[in-house]
Amino acid sequence: MPLTKLTDKSTVELKGAQSSYTLKLPVPERWDIIRAQLHLSYVNSTALLPERSKLSIRFNNHVLAQVTLQPRSPEGTIDLNIPARLLLNKYNDLEFYVTQNYTLDCSDPGAPELWTNVELNDSHIEIEYALKQVPLRLSSVANMLFDPKMFGPNTVNVVLESRTPELMHLAAVAASGVALRFEYRPVQFTVSGELLKGSDNIVIGSAKFLSGIMAGSGASMPSAPLAVLHMPGDRAHALIYIGGDTYAVMLKNAQAFSTLSYPLPDAGYALVKDIVLPAVSQYQGKNVVAQTTSYTFKDLGLTTRTFRGINPGSAALAFRLPADAMVKENENTALSIHLVYSAGLRSDSALNMNLNGKFAGSIPLNDEKGSRYQGYSIQIPGSLLKAGYNTLSFDAVLSPLKSGECIYLKTDNLIITLYDDSEVKIPSMQHWIEMPSLSAFVTDGFPFTKWPDFRDTTVLLTDKTAETAASALNLIAMISQKSGVQPFGINFSYELDPGTENDIIVIGPLNTVPEKILQGSPLASALQNPWDGHLRNISDRGTTVKKETADRNVRIGTRTVIEEGRLLVSEFESPFESERSVLLVTANGGRSLLQGAFALWEPVVQSGFTQDMLLVDLGPADPKVYTQEAGKKYYTGNVRGVNKLNYFLHKYFRASVAVLIISIILLAWIIYSLLKRHKKKRLGNE
């Protein structure tokens, strides 16, 4: 596994006289480590003095290796074995620690020559492991089977008795439960009518169906309709059964499976009598913050943090605004910071704050005797906030009071503690967004998760193949993982209901997509006027598909719409209801569709979700994404006034302005006529 999978950086820069960086290496519960080997690549400064410049590799505080940083051969690699006993089933610390000097006597600890880069791109870790036996306990669902420390590839096969809309609903609930337990890890779902060996399987159906697919395996049937079993002949993989005599019982079991998160009952099965779900409100979800509400840093995941030394690092907290959030640019995000800092800091020390990578404010730490701030107020302009995830980071810059060449630097007293009862107050916001917006979709599934349980969403499956069903499960599970809420309200359908007032997700091969959907999509113009073979309005910018290559991708005129190995995702306004959206996920055939659905889990694909139409090239290498703006704009949300009227005013803005001007002229004429009458009355014949 490349080390870049463990962080968002491709290179770790270690600067100064001493510096370190720690990676978190996850080792899931399910793994039994046999062997691990680390290959590390680094480059150091040619100004370093080898006698006093060392790179240490530490694993969970155990020093694995020390390397002298050679100025004459600044590029180096390290290959080392990590003792299996050190790899614990948790997030393990892999630390790169350097001490760097350029003279024997004394070095300026902040000298720019003191640097070493660890090249994560060229570094990797190899782990050989065996899967542990799956304990036949329901709690293992939450604790072991679907563990975010499993960096994949993670696969789950859903075995359905039939692919009716009802069972698809159960499958979506179950798949979302799995995806939520993986937290942020991709997980690929397949759908079949029988068990898939070498994978965990979730079987949804009647007991008869279960006995049918297990026939001949010799395995015993579970005692209850919600159970964890071993896969026949494979104790390392689980078979999770979600069943029941009626749909209502199956639904109860599916919901229980999806939400189960506690260790009890410590048994392999459960008879679910009842399940009470919490009320769901609009714009609820993982890390979502509410307007005009104060949150402590602890609420947002940042616990009390002490920064120490010359390179104290940074701390960050993240929170999410709904994808359609519109923060007034003139409103401020208010921070009330509680901190204490030590004596002996130079007056140019400071705690800097960045919101979404932009400098947002700074607290001077300029009292040499040390001090404490209680409720230090910082106002951050609302324009720095954005819909979706926001990251507020704190970077301490601590300088020793006494510094200079050949002066013994005392850095132990460079301390600042940021308390987690510091607060951030979210400004007021409105919900208003220009649609279509695939970036909003990929943020948290907007608009389908406006009600996070998908209650206003219908998933239209254009055929009954396993690939289409699996693609739908992957998409729904992916959205649920982002929104943090299971899709208990979702509807599946194989028939298009033209009277629907819901948002619609259409999934299936293009030749099976209903004509009415296509007519409402940006592809409609091509259908009406046989296309000459390329996407409209294509510019030559960066990631956008180019004219000369587009015609091999899209040939709607000949009905060979998309070539094998490509996925088309498009969002547009529902042809059946204004302000409602349709997400069309389609491909040349079922195989490409499923491959595409798997690809949608990948961060590289998700980062390409912009504008309103995208094409994912599922070639042999990493998938590539091409996007463009193809459809008409529309608006949705809830700003002051009458929403429907606002919708028309925005959608037909120029026409609205024309109507406004005509209204003004008409009103002026009416007033003029009335004034003339008044004048006649007042002045008579004068």
Binding site: P381, S428, N646, F653, I664, I665, L666, L667, L674, L675
Partner: protein
């Protein structure tokens, strides 16, 4: 009947459609649009308004209303933005400043909307001349109330009144003397009593000489209002009453041009005419804008009264108005609950269902206050009085008024609250820069797409509606310069609405030298604070990078205020004013003859005053100072005058001479002729106004003009102060030297001392008037005590 029904039905339909459209427009003005849409909408509207204003030539009335609605849309949009998107607070101090600024802005927008309502369709009346031979012509009493004004001022007004064209048997002129009442004549202060007795005798003699009435009363109750009401019950019987301030000289045609309206409309109670001032007010004088831009009163008389007239709401302005006696008597005479008795009286009579008319032709010529202090005294009285009406007789709740009359009066009343708003506008950006107070929650892009389009639209609209009578930002100047003095007075009136007393505005004051007005202090403070705001802003810029938008906004704002302060400093530097007879520009043909030299030559008179006239000759004549000449000249009505004059100066020009000459008194009629020629011809006033209004400068030029005037005025102010300080120090040194060097004489110097106004002591005919001629600023409170 059927026609009436159909017309009513049409009106009903129009009103319903109008309400629907208005609702839609107001709704759209409140809707949120994104940045690009807002840019398109706001600046598109501005451009459309400009385009219509500049290029559309037909139907001016409809065009006017379209421009009004386009501009008001942007204003409404801005107000909705301010109300819904900017009012949030982080600290208690924010609440105070943000709320204060918001209220000030909302007040400004309300007065702007009311002003536009009033002026949406100003009444352009044709003059209706009365047939003086009509036996039904009503009898007219002319009342000239006086309190402490110099006798020669009263004499001029009385003479001009007698000169009015109207059947003599139907015209009676009365001097209503409140300076010589029994109470005054028996004052416990012997000097005051003697002064009152002398005044009483002088004015009685003057009345007798002019063959007009003299009325005084026992006690000085209710000041001017009481004086007039007393006259109504003192054997005066005229069906109509022309009320004139004693410094207001009527033209010959005043009654001819006003009486006919009463004969036409039985329910008419008032015909008001404009006030024309022959002298510059202190702002015009000190900034040097007289004859260059329209005077302060011209906005009111040239536009607002016409707008009010359309809504049957034009009101009595204390003078130059004809009132029907019987309606006045119905309400017990002139109203006395407030110190703006004129507007109050109109309000009461409008509430009784009677009508008023405004005739837009200046037919009196009066005197504006000469000093800034007098100007402020006059304006604070108006402000206080109108606030009293708002508090004691709120037009919104007066029974009998039509809705448009309520709005018209409301507009007139709340306008005077500008003092609060202006002070807030002046202090708000400084509060931000100096104390970091959050005054306005908006980013620069919001300012550019909401606030600036609104301001630009407001400038376009006000220039379009009032540009002829009020140049850009002159209103802001007049309001700013008054605000610091109006505000405390209004606050007192708000707390005790019945306490303010009538204060007479001194007229005919002269100033012996330049000096800083005693009211200059607030402007010094603000000037230096504004100057200091720039380095403070620079400091903030460096230390608060996230506030740079706000800092830029406030700096622009401070700069605008700074320009206003420059002008204010120019205004409070009182210019020397020794001329007692003010000149008015004319362009009249005349014949100059000097019989002893055999000269008879056509000349052009270019200005006239009570003391003389200026003329140009087209060829060089054998004239020199001291020569006696005769001038034959005719007024606009064809009345011919022959004046015996003496040349005071003769300056050769390219072709001829520029000649200044003064009147010589050769008969008892000379003064009457001079008054008749100077004040009798309303066409002179009319042309003067028209000419001044032709100089419309446009928005940018107008702003540049004001800036230059401001810089010049401030320079003059500080240069004058420096000179006075230098003189003072020099004198001090000399005085010290003379004290320390025995035998050296002490030198006196007029420089370095504070100069006080000197009141006019000139006379027209010294034989006619023998009185104590010093004009004092006395309070009518004294009268009532």
């Amino acid at each position: 009947m059927t026609d009436n029904n159909s017309s009513n039905k049409q009106s009903y339909l129009l009103v319903c459609s109008g309400i629907l459209l208005l609702t839609f427009i107001i709704y759209v003005s409140s809707v949120f649009f994104n940045f690009e849409q807002q840019v398109f909408l706001s600046w598109g509207m501005v451009l459309l308004a400009l385009f219509i204003k500049t290029f559309i030539r037909n139907d001016q009335a409809l065009k006017r209303i379209i421009i009004i609605f386009l501009c008001l849309f942007l204003t409404l949009r801005y107000w909705f933005f301010r109300t819904f998107d900017t009012l949030f607070f982080n600290t208690p101090m924010d609440i105070i400043f943000i709320a204060a600024l918001y209220l000030a802005e909302s007040y400004g927008i309300l007065t702007y909307l009311l002003g536009v309502f009033v002026n949406i369709h100003p009444c352009e009346r044709k003059l209706i001349k009365a047939d003086l031979d009509d036996p039904a012509l009503p009898t007219v009493d002319v009342f000239i109330p006086t309190y402490n004004e110099p006798a020669e001022i009263i004499l001029t007004a009385a003479t001009a009144s007698i000169n009015m064209k109207y059947p003599k048997d139907k015209l009676n002129v009365y001097i209503l003397d409140d300076g010589g009442t029994v109470e005054k004549r028996n004052s416990p202060d012997p000097a005051a009593a003697e002064k009152a007795r002398r005044r009483h005798e002088d004015l009685k003699a003057m009345a007798s000489f002019l063959n007009i009435g003299y009325i005084t009363r026992e006690r000085n109750l209710h000041a001017k209002a009481g004086n007039i009401t007393n006259a109504l019950g003192s054997n005066t019987t005229g069906e109509l009453t022309l009320i004139l301030d004693c410094d207001h000289n009527p033209s010959r045609d005043l009654l001819v041009n006003t009486v006919a309206y009463f004969m036409k409309d039985e329910k008419l109670f008032l015909v008001q005419t404009p006030h024309f001032f022959i002298n510059p007010d202190p702002i015009e004088k000190n900034l040097g804008t007289f004859r260059e831009i329209p005077a302060e009163g011209e906005l009111f008389f040239g536009a607002i009264q016409k707008g009010l007239d359309f809504w049957n709401s034009s009101f009595f302005c204390g003078s130059a108005a004809v009132i029907r006696r019987k309606y006045l008597e119905e309400i017990g005479g002139i109203a006395t609950d407030t110190i703006t008795e004129d507007a109050e009286t109109s309000l009461m009579l409008h509430a009784k269902g009677y009508n008023s008319v405004y005739v837009d032709r200046p037919m009196i010529c009066g005197l504006a206050p000469e000093t800034f202090s007098d100007f402020i005294l006059q304006h604070t009285r108006w402000a206080t009085g109108m606030l009293q009406i708002l508090l004691l007789k709120n037009p919104l709740f007066q029974k009998g008024l039509k809705f448009y009359q309520r709005l018209g009066y409301l507009n007139s009343c709340i306008y005077w609250l500008f003092g609060y708003a202006r002070v807030i506008f002046m202090l708000a950006p400084m509060a931000y820069l100096f104390f970091g107070a959050n005054v306005y929650n908006a980013t620069i892009s919001q300012v550019m797409t909401y606030a600036i389009p609104h301001m630009v639209a407001a400038i376009i609209l006000t220039d379009y509606l009032y540009g002829r009578v009020r140049h850009t930002f002159v209103s802001e100047l007049y309001e700013t310069v008054q605000s610091f003095f109006v505000m405390p007075v209004l606050t007192r009136a708000l707390l005790r609405p019945r306490s303010p007393k009538f204060m007479v505005t001194p007229k005919g004051t002269t100033l012996s030298s330049d000096f800083a007005s005693p009211l200059a202090f607030p402007f010094y403070f603000l000037f230096f604070a504004s100057v200091a705001a720039y380095p403070v802003a620079l400091w903030r810029w460096h230390n608060n990078p996230l506030q740079q938008h706000g800092i830029i906004g406030c700096l622009i704002w401070v700069t605008f205020n700074f320009i206003m302060l420059l002008l204010c400093l120019g205004i409070v530097w009182e210019k020397r004013q020794i001329r007692t007879k003010h000149r008015i520009p004319v362009d009249k043909e005349a014949v100059l003859s000097a019989p002893f030299r055999g000269i008879k030559h056509n000349v052009r008179v270019f200005d006239i005053s009570e003391s003389g006239l200026g003329l140009t000759t087209e060829e060089r004549l054998d004239l020199s100072p001291g020569d006696d000449i005769l001038i034959d000249v005719a007024d606009s009505y064809g009345n011919e005058y022959k004046f015996h004059m003496k040349i005071t100066r003769a300056v050769p020009t390219d072709k001829g001479h520029l000649v200044g000459c003064e009147f010589l008194s050769t008969s008892d009629n000379t003064a009457s002729d001079i008054i008749g020629f100077l004040y009798g011809d309303s066409e002179i006033f009319n042309r003067f106004w028209e000419k001044r209004r032709e100089r419309s400068a446009g928005i940018w030029k107008g702003m540049g003009y004001l800036f230059i005037k401001g810089v010049t005025g401030t320079f003059n102010h500080f240069a004058g102060l420096s000179m006075q300080l230098y003189n003072y120090l020099t004198n001090k040194r000399r005085s010290y030297a003379s004290e320390t060097i025995p035998g050296e004489e002490t030198q006196e110097s007029a420089a370095g001392v504070v100069h006080c106004p000197v009141h006019n002591t000139d006379t027209i005919n010294p034989d006619l008037v023998q009185s104590n001629r010093s004009g004092n600023t006395e309070s009518a409170a004294d009268q009532t005590n």
